[in-house]
Chain length 393, copies 2
């Protein structure tokens, strides 16, 4: 099979709120080869990502993504890995490349799975797919009462783990943050796993982050996520050294396996969380999972959008045994929820598992999201470089 | 002063060759505030960079660059540093952000310098600006004879240091690479500093890189640049440990100070080379220079395009004493050469120094490059998100 077409779609809610909810817009990617169609999602800013697909070449290490993939053979996993290298080399100086490529790479595993009638995890070479314990991933409330209510709601809904993040956390006083965390703990009850996401709020200020540790320890928080920006290796290591029972989590910003590996090797992480929609897809995410496992660091997915993205995020560590957590967005936008007709619903034990169906195993509902499609056109010297394609299977 | 306008221009040669010459197109940025105009250049793929300027917001950590800078106050260096943080935070999940921001940041130093009638290095807080020893930066020839001829030519032209890179190097046999390096040494003569740039050709294959070391040592090569992709910290460290008299250089791909610092701290570099047009401008480049100096690692500019970009690249380490090298493109494209009416020509001692004039101190020649301007238009649902502005002072 050869890659006949790669199409990218920009979808968005009518109003984008200035909050930490990444499910308000979407980069959807469709790949066609050999009569099959695969779908993937990049977790990225749509317009620069579209531009990275169609960018005119600047020099030998700065090509648009389409330029490196159209017409290429894709008959097996080795072809996807080869294409990943090709895109990375020819797109080395185009910074947006990994975000754009992620959706294509995921779509290629989906496509290969459909062609072989195998789930994507099997095509990737994994021997099994085990269920994961979903943690309800949501934003902190505007005040402790709202956080408490949200925690109560997810606990009542059967979640045994929950993460709160962004919102006011880290932006006010140490005391205010402690109140938020304690409200979450009280709402969840004493036995649930509580996770806190600081959303890089402290930049690289170790002292500011360390001041929050006592409250996090007192509330029995399992991990503190992204206290700092992902590149701040020294700050992570310094905080990890004094974090006691609280372990550090991070890696969602990694745009290649090396960035995540650096955090594992030099940042003192306890949990590494990569987003398959940013890091370049399933291949590099799997590489990070293996690297982490060899060093006693636990792999957890990062995802906050559709169930297509959720499914992709579960693949790279699907074969790891034990009751491992997975991020599970509890309040996705109608766009994120609507993209697929089928969903990764929790089973009777409250666990989430990948479908047995070929590829990523999800059925898209394009009619449900067509209204969110943005009509984009890019011209260069009168030539159309991009025009939104028809959104159809 | 408030930032009244930020305009970005995509310029390109009529034909882009698939070679490692990054001067074939250009992202030029113009900033206006308080009646002053500053200019900067991003070393980036133009179309995704334009898209990063005008991208609609996706969520609170994914804003286009313009959205974070228009109307902001800019009265002193602190404002530029504050804006850098603001753009980074609000553009955290828009990967292309640092490349887009670089040109704005550089233009802001240029603008502040003009407003204060001070050179940019002085506005940045440096106490002095010392001349640098330019090394002639060029591509390897297609064969050793062509490399020899190029080396002879630059030696005859008075260069006492030269770098050869890309082209066939690392793509053929160990023997063929040795012949190329020896040809460069013979052409330059025994006393000139010879530098070799592998252009990330070995990915993270330490063995392949190590096989080239004996020939590099025999030819007295000062540094081997970018044997691997910038994120491959372990590979760098492993090669550095066996590189003998050859020191490793790298860092041009760093899109923030952390990435360059990681290479300094964990990659065993002897020389760190950041590109002010990629790393986010003069501020983060200066931060890397200080970080490197404190660890005995030598800062060298990376640049390969116009003299506007060359001037910006020299600022972050302008106050360091000693005969430090600087990259100096010897065969820039007519676009890169034409952008400025004035140039950083070598003086009687063969050295390059920053102009004393305000800002970056260069006079642009927009008439000379107007013919290279690409006419770009981006519309979203019929609304014009970007249209190429008038290219004028």
């Amino acid at each position: 099979m050869r890659i006949e077409a790669v199409d990218v779609f920009f979808l968005a809610l009518p109003v984008i709120e200035d909050i930490g909810d990444g499910s308000q817009d979407m980069v959807l990617v469709r790949v066609r080869a050999g009569g099959y169609t695969g779908w993937g999602e990049s977790e990225a800013s749509p317009l620069p990502t579209i531009a990275a697909f169609v960018a005119p070449p600047s020099h030998s290490a700065c090509h648009g993504v389409l330029d490196s993939v159209l017409g290429e053979p894709v008959d097996g996993p080795g072809d996807i890995l080869r294409l990943s290298r090709r895109v990375a080399e020819r797109g080395l100086d185009l910074l947006q490349t990994p975000h754009a490529w992620s959706g294509v790479e995921i779509a290629l595993w989906d496509l290969l799975g459909k062609a072989r009638e195998e789930p994507a995890w099997s095509v990737l070479g994994l021997a099994a797919s085990h269920p994961r314990r979903p943690y309800a991933s949501q934003l902190f409330g505007d005040d402790p009462q709202q956080t408490f209510d949200r925690a109560r709601t997810v606990a009542a809904d059967g979640y045994r783990a929950a993460k709160f993040g962004w919102g006011p956390y880290g932006r006010g006083s140490v005391r205010a943050d402690a109140d938020q965390v304690m409200a979450a703990r009280e709402g969840l009850g004493p036995d649930a796993s509580l996770l806190v996401d600081a959303g890089t709020v402290w930049g690289e200020d170790v002292e500011a982050a360390a001041a929050r540790l006592p409250a996090l320890e007192a509330a029995g928080v399992v991990w503190l996520e992204e206290p700092f920006v992902g590149g701040a290796l020294d700050a992570h290591a310094a905080l990890a050294a004094q974090a006691g029972s609280v372990r550090l989590a991070g890696g969602e910003g990694a745009h290649n396996a090396w960035a995540a590996r650096a955090l594992v090797d030099h940042g003192g992480l306890g949990f590494v969380q990569v987003d398959t929609g940013r890091i370049g897809g399933l291949g590099p995410a799997r590489e990070v999972a293996r690297h982490a496992a060899a060093r006693g660091v636990v792999h957890v997915n990062h995802t906050f959008t559709s169930h297509l993205a959720l499914a992709a995020s579960l693949v790279p560590y699907a074969d790891y045994r034990g009751e491992l957590l997975c991020e599970y967005p509890v309040a996705p936008s109608p766009l994120a929820l609507g993209l697929t007709r089928t969903h990764l619903d929790r089973d009777d034990e409250g666990l989430v598992r990948l479908p047995d169906a070929p590829g990523l195993g999800l059925e898209l509902d394009l009619d449900a999201v067509r209204g969110y499609l943005q009509d984009v056109e890019i011209t260069i010297d009168g030539r159309v470089a991009y025009r939104t394609p028809e959104l159809e299977q």
